[in-house]
Structures are given as structure tokens and as C-alpha cells.
Symmetry: none
Subunit: 226 residues, 2 copies
């Protein structure tokens, strides 16, 4: 299954549960991180900024409820999906958890299949694309979100292929990309285009940006540098 790019953090003190759930979510294309207690959950949450946090209620160090309270208090986790894992019949926890700002709870025991279904349904509601970060090299700023390049804050608009090519080269300034690498990355390994095609696109980028930020390495490829 293709990766969805969604990051999930699971906190539970039972390694077995952690592993089986983690494994099944990964099979379904999620990026999974784990924590074995409340403190670790909080620390890892800050670290990886997950899209969904699953907290077991009963954990050492800090309970899931405490962890949730702490997380929710921070703006960065204000809108993160947080759900609790609870044992059956633990009604009090349910009520408390929901009042504390959890978005839902999941009762244990739970089969991996149901878990995956639930997780999918969480994301069905809140699917918003993650923002990619901008690249900044000297007076040049590339904004992948906007499909725009700014030179000294002057906006320069490139066509799709040109932009992709520039972003690719600029991803590692100074490094030379072989023509083959470029073809594979931007055009795909199965597409066949002529040799001059890359040149033409490079030319258009140079022309539109107005600064020579792409250097030719004859017989090898191109590199981005200012």
C-alpha cells in the first residue's frame, strides 16, 4: 500500500500491543512512532509532530490522561487528533478522557483490523495536506506550497516542470546531479525524452529567474549554486 505520509504516535506500556498495532498501521502506509510511557509520549510528540496520537490510559510515569492534558495545553497540539486506549468497563476514564479534550477512545482488546479501520476513519474527516517547507539560499527563496520562487522578494513564476526541476536541484545546493538522476527524478524512469529536453528547461529557469543559479558541469550534469 502506498504511504499516506500520516504520522501516528502510539503510547502503551505493553510492548506486545505496541508492536502488533504499530506493525499493522505501517502495513497500511502510516508512519508510526511509539512510546512506552507518558513522558516519552510527550517528548516524542514534540519531536515528530504526529497527525494522530493514541494514548493508553494506564501508563507509567504519566497516565494517558495527564499526557493528553499537557499536550492539549500547547498550541501546536491544539488540533491534533488524540484518542485514548482504554480497557473495557473503565467508564470513568471514558468520561474523563472525553472531557479532557480527547477526540475519541478505543476500547481494548481491539483487533488490528478494527484499529486500522478506526484510524482510517479518523483521517477521513480531517485530511488536510501538510505544508512543505520553503528553501532559502541567499536572496533566493523557493516556496513549494506556492509554486513560486522569490529573488530579492520579487516573485518569479515557473511552469510545473521547471519548478520541480529547480526544487530538485536546490534541494542540495552545490551537489552535482547527473543528467540521469534528473531524468529519473523529474521525468520518471519509464519516460523517455530526448537529451536536449533538460537543457531547454534549465535554460528557461535561468531566463525566468534572471540570475545564474544553475551551473553546468560539462559531461556530467548540473548543480545549483549562487
Amino acid at each position: 500500500m502506498a504511504t499516506t505520509g500520516k504520522k501516528i504516535l502510539i503510547a502503551d506500556d505493553e510492548p506486545d500491543i505496541l508492536e502488533i498495532i504499530s506493525y499493522n498501521l505501517q502495513l497500511n502506509g502510516y508512519q508510526v512512532a511509539t512510546a512506552k510511557d507518558g513522558d516519552q509520549a510527550i517528548q516524542k510528540a514534540k519531536e515528530i509532530q504526529p497527525d494522530l496520537i493514541i494514548l493508553d490510559i494506564m501508563m507509567p510515569k504519566k497516565s494517558g490522561i495527564e499526557a493528553c492534558k499537557i499536550l492539549r495545553a500547547q498550541p501546536e497540539f491544539e488540533k491534533t487528533l488524540i484518542v485514548f486506549l482504554t480497557a473495557l468497563n473503565d467508564e470513568l476514564s471514558h468520561v474523563k478522557g472525553l472531557e479532557l479534550g480527547a477526540d475519541d477512545f478505543i476500547t481494548k482488546p481491539i483487533s488490528p483490523k478494527v484499529m486500522v479501520s478506526k484510524v482510517n476513519s479518523f483521517f477521513r474527516r480531517v485530511q488536510k495536506p501538510e505544508a512543505s517547507k520553503s528553501i532559502e539560499i541567499g536572496p533566493l527563496r523557493i516556496e513549494p506550497d506556492e509554486y513560486m520562487v522569490y529573488f530579492n522578494n520579487e516573485p518569479k513564476s515557473l511552469a510545473k516542470k521547471e519548478f520541480e526541476l529547480l526544487v530538485y536541484l536546490a534541494s542540495k545546493p552545490g551537489r552535482v546531479f547527473l543528467r540521469n538522476e534528473i531524468l529519473n527524478q523529474i521525468w520518471g524512469s519509464d519516460v523517455i525524452v530526448g537529451d536536449r529536453t533538460i537543457d531547454v528547461h534549465i535554460r528557461k529557469i535561468r531566463q525566468k529567474i534572471g540570475v545564474d543559479c544553475i551551473t553546468t558541469v560539462k559531461g556530467v550534469g548540473y548543480k545549483f549554486e549562487l
Copy 2:
């Protein structure tokens, strides 16, 4: 407790359950309607247009799953919250239900208290996106509450889809939204509409607003910018 105005429809074939849940939800300010089988649930849903529908899986006439399928097929219930009531261990129903477009399921037996908490959390979840602050960009002001756009204080009225689309794009000025993202957000991930549909709506917005505030990024999508 003050009334929230939220309407809930509960369908279950056990009158006792119906009554006790209904009573507790009403205590918490919800308007509650009940149905005792699948057919009645569908009929009442059309009648009162509830904000949340709770369907028991095992019911006479039509099962909750069938009822859900029928309801979801109708545009008016496309985005209504629907949750299932299921007996424990009935995993198959869980999975099936979520795949059929239910938003969640609740396991029986369930205490009234937990039920109320869950219901509260459902509404909390769907209310978040409705943070209806007005958006103001330059001479353009968007009032989500009024479904109105003002340009230099001149009111421009847009149709629903047009308005939603504009609000979505304007939520992050400068950022390019892929056609796919737009489809998922405005039309829903399961609705299939033709390619030109977005264009036509974009055109109408541009036409009605009278200023070109939407930029096309060919091969990618659209972005809002003045």
C-alpha cells in the same frame, strides 16, 4: 442545561434503550427523535434532518447498515454524522460500518453518561472547522457567517459551493491547492465529479467578485492571491 439546538435521531428496536438514552440526551439540551426500525429511521431522518444519527445495527425492517447505506446515498445526508450501535465483539460489523461511511461506532452496553460524553465529543469534532471568523485580505472581506463576500464593502453574493471554494482557497492566501485537495475538501473524497466542474466554479467566483483574486497554476491547481 441550555439547549444546543442539535438534533439527534436514535434508532433501536429496544424501547428501553431508546427511552433511557433519549432521556439523558434531552437532559443535556439535545433535541431527540427516535425510530424503532430501519425504515422508520430513514423516514424520520428525512423529516427532521438531524445533525447526528445513531443507528443500532440489529433492527427489524432494515438493519442499521442498510439504513446507513441508503442515507449516505442521498446528498442531504452526505455529511451528516452517522454512528452505529453494536454489540461487543461484533467486529465484522465495525469494519463494515466504517467502510460504509459511518463516522464511528459505539459498543453496547453503554451507560447513559458515556453516551452523552461521546455525543458531545462528536459535535466538538465537527464544530472545530466551523470557526467562522471573517477573513480579510486587502479590500476583500469574507464573512463565513453571512455567506457573503465584500469587495470595498460592496456585497457580492455567491452560491454555496462557490463560497465554500473561495473560503477554502482564501484560508491560505498564496498557497496552491491541488485540484485533488479541492475535490476532497469541497466535494468530499467519495464524490466523483468531472474535471471541468472546478473550473466552472472558479470562473463564477472570478466573475461575481469582479477582481481576479484566484490564480491558475497550470498542471497543479489554484491559489488565492490579490
